[in-house]
Amino acid sequence: MEQLLTDTWLTAPIGGTILLSLIVIMINALKKDSLAAEYWVSLIGIAANIVLAVVVFPDRGTAFSGMVMTGGYASITAILFLTAAGLTILLSREYIEKIGVNFGEFYHLILLATTGMMTFSAGTDLVVTFIGLELMSISLYVLAGISRRHHKGNEAALKYFLLGAFASGFFLYGIALIYGMTSTTNILEIAQNMQAYMSEPLFLTGVGLLLVGFAFKVGAVPFHMWVPDVYEGSPTMVSAFMSTGAKASAFTAFLLIFTATFDIAGTQINTVLAILAVASMVIGNVVALSQNNIKRMLAYSSIAHAGYMLIGLTAGGMMSITGVLFYLISYMFTNIGAFGIAAIIENKEQGGTEIDNFRGLYYRHPALAVMMSIFMFSLVGLPPLAGFFGKYYIFVAAIENGYTWLTIIGVITSMISVYYYLRVVVVMFFQTDEEAEKSSLASSSVFALLLSAAGVLLIGVFPSMVLDWMSRLF
């Protein structure tokens, strides 16, 4: 009994978030008039859960007989997902009213997906990992199609659902084969006999299928076909949440299983990861050049960023784990900000997300234009912004582990990316649009954008602030 209480306390951020999502849906069922209560309860609850995650940070270990990780890694990832959810909710309040999907379920589903993300990336047993993955994905399928009379939204939800469920099938088959060869689903136990298992063809097949499942979820080439369609068709703030929270959670689970536990550096699987990384960087960046829609451009850029992070997974070792986590945190602030500004520019019919719609933004909303430039420069990876240090740590880890050629490809492709990111900046400052109307700016959106911009700048100028936490991961 005492053990149960301790374990419940140690996994409090997960339990707290699912409780919060239930409270929100209850409030929504009881009162129909406005969404203010749901909005504020979600925000306060998210803040409380972030505090809980910080409090349990020193208790590094596992809970519920080795099923989930607590403290350290789990706390950092929980804070990452909760911050992403908080920023998304702040930016969504005005947005969901504008596009006519102001349902209380929106907040409920965001919180439920956040719970799934935390479970997904903290699970040390493949059962828990799978449940977390599905909780996250199923909530996001609904969110992608939440604007149900919108044709693009329907299409995005259908594609996301069919390909997501398809990927889950591979993921599960991988787990089944791993279970058959090891007679356990606990990754820590499997890791103890990794050397012996690596010579079993069925075990390798299982790990390979698991890898395919993960590659689908992080959107790495050649499993990326769904990413642009889903990001373009879904409501913009949902895309923001998917590209930061869902991607980060797939990556952190990927890191925990493949790099931190199985330690696959130097095996055949590593070669596959290197190929995925190169393909994602090249195809993501090159195809992004020809995009005219900001959401689609950001989708291809997110494929490219998945490629950079895969370099970290290929290199392996503690330095890469830190680097990829740092990258995910900086990418979270940057991308939520960029999508948030796109959501403000967007019109009622969910149109107006072309890059041309940003023409002359500086003359209409100077602050928005300046913040958008900060986000774009951070995505390019210019110092002293957060994106620079993310890339820097990953590239250093890759060079130290003998993957200099991957780093060279990474640097060349980020050169290519300068063109399409700067195009947005040029359009905002050096072109004008007489007909464009000023978009309405809610104070909550401005606050969230300021937070994201501050995050990008602060993490960039004082990276040690985040890195100090990362030295105590496991």
């Binding site: 599905e134 009379r149 594609k159």
Partner: protein, 100 residues
Amino acid sequence: MIPIHYYLILSAVMFITGVVGVLTRRNAIIIFMCIELMLNSVNLTFVAFSSYLGNATGQMFVFFVMAVAAAEAAVGLAIVIALFRNKQTVNINDVNILKW
């Protein structure tokens, strides 16, 4: 007793049938059925391994998979219905507004 590899071959064939179905069929409902076939072939693998290894984890996993598949079916069919109301079709060749 039937040897374990009979079950494994059967479930692999079921899984591949599902994958081929997803890749070749054009009706959203049939694609969805093929995905369910993939999940059920995984269930068969789990149960076969579980009985072979004398270990209950696999059978417990099957319950989770079934619960998740049910939740997925609810959401998936809702999405297909929302699409049908807008476009009067469930053929994925007609669902092509988004492309590069």
